[in-house]
Symmetry: C2
Amino acid sequence: MSSLPMIGLTRRTRPSPFFEATRRYGAKAYTVYNHMLMPIWYETPEADYWHLINNVTVWDVAGERQVELTGPDAFTLVRLMTPRNLSKIKTGQCKYVPLVDENGGIINDPVLLKLDEDHFWLSLADSDVLLYAKGLAHGLGLDVNLCEPDVSPLAIQGPRSDEVAANLFGEEIRDLGFFKFRPIDLDDIPLIVARSGWSKQGGFELYLRDGCRGDELWERVMTAGADLDIRPAAPSLMERIEGGLLSYGNDMTLENNPFEIGLDKFCHLDQPFDFLGREALKEIKGRGITQRLMGLVIETSDDQERLPSMTSWWPLSTPAGKPGKVTSTAYSPRLEQQIALGYVPSDYAAPGRQVMVHTPVGERTATVCAMPFVK
Amino acid sequence: MSSLPMIGLTRRTRPSPFFEATRRYGAKAYTVYNHMLMPIWYETPEADYWHLINNVTVWDVAGERQVELTGPDAFTLVRLMTPRNLSKIKTGQCKYVPLVDENGGIINDPVLLKLDEDHFWLSLADSDVLLYAKGLAHGLGLDVNLCEPDVSPLAIQGPRSDEVAANLFGEEIRDLGFFKFRPIDLDDIPLIVARSGWSKQGGFELYLRDGCRGDELWERVMTAGADLDIRPAAPSLMERIEGGLLSYGNDMTLENNPFEIGLDKFCHLDQPFDFLGREALKEIKGRGITQRLMGLVIETSDDQERLPSMTSWWPLSTPAGKPGKVTSTAYSPRLEQQIALGYVPSDYAAPGRQVMVHTPVGERTATVCAMPFVK
């Protein structure tokens, strides 16, 4: 890890409201997400991982920016952008909504929050959905207001998250259902508190609605978790691959359709509402997909070998020479294996099949497997 | 500089075709630009700067991604997005085209290249214009194909650029006019060669049209410049502030209009073609702007003081308490002063006026001045 280059600081890659706290607490590496600096690890990636698995962690995920849609056509615009049928969404619910363009290509895979009848947030992966939505709204003449509001998620993740949340918000927060949210003022810090987060370890996302209060909120969470040994961490590459969580820009891009990545259940092609990409998705479904995102276990030369960080996709090939690619990889501390996600040609996309992966350190055999790796 | 955190590597922040070369040549720090890693300095920011000023440098600016527009409505879509009158643009020309939304807010400030009647590139600053253009095109029902092509600019910048280019392409390249371009195959490496670049020191941008040839092109440029002491460098914060070059995300965002940043000459509000934002820009022009981007010279406590890198805008205020902000700052080695760009309330936006700047290391007096600092 010591060979990583440095990251430049400039206002263009905006600091989150928690940035000063993340520096103070020793974040060693950052990425840029939606034009915002986002910490990726503190102690080491593996130490952070174990703390997430065993205890509880706090993450600055303010880079998951929101697109806010308000006004008479807000719901119409949301529905136009996703193949998921949203006719029954209720205020206080979160929904995972892959956004697709007219060709069925994935624009982003945000979480939608319904705050009121004419008031929605799209909590984004890393692409400028605000610009896409502005283009669509203007082109279609929709009556909708669009902006990036002053809203910054701070995540509490790990098996002891409920205890931290109960210390912060009272015992009744334990009753909050998965992918449900509530507006809560923590004293006078305005929040939306959701049971959600980008790990499989359980927890909450605190959507801070006043960026000036970032440091204060961070310290409140740290104090509430002090007896539980809460520590700063970040979305974990190891844990999210183990859990089969997909990352936009890594495991899917505009070049991919939802069927290739197993999102069939979010594609309601026969719903009455006419969303973008319906015809394209019907055609893709009719003709069948040519590749599928699968789990992979990559054989290493010995137990000590760790494959390098991925900067480009790694090519893979079937014995017949059909190409695919590895999209994310990490050493799994729980499985003690080099695990990966990748696109495998459809006729080889079945557990147990073997493919060759062309890594920067040489060819490796990999075994196709189902996701998630760890349930 | 040694206190900068590290940057994480992941496919989401894509490597450019020149990435391996930049690592091999010792790039010490990177940023992320259009979801792509971009080097920002090699030796030190100041050493790189002096080499740009005095000699010649090569820059990986592949992060300046292109949006390609082809098809019958390609030109219509380009014209809809910018207030600049493009009725006379010719094939082989580059034009600086601020893009504005229906409110007159700046979406991006790319350079437009006209490759043919129905074939354009927008060479981007840091925002997903492809998504914006897709939204508009779909909403308006335009017949245009949009993509991010396999095109990656490599810049040669500095007073000895012409010599390097002549070594590469022959003496006739010296005749290429400013903001003109030609398709050139360097042996069989396909390029578009433009006289352009994000510095005031002169030079070329080589738009590589085959990402597989990145390393080869880099080495060809290095060989062509070996006798001229060519060195790797990057867009220079110091040089571009001295020259009054503006950076999207730093000096302007969606919240700004073109008049505030002195782009009046690109706003042809009375052209026959009906672009987005015309009404909004007319209204803004009619009522007058409330702030203006100006140069600033910030007083330091002594000759040795260097102000820290900016991660957030720094507030400024006039003696009457009206607020503004500093958007970019650097120590100018040529002027031996801490220079800056910033928004100053209109009634104080005149050379010689003094304002207070609220830096992270305390209050400093600053003197308003005209741009550029160095002609």
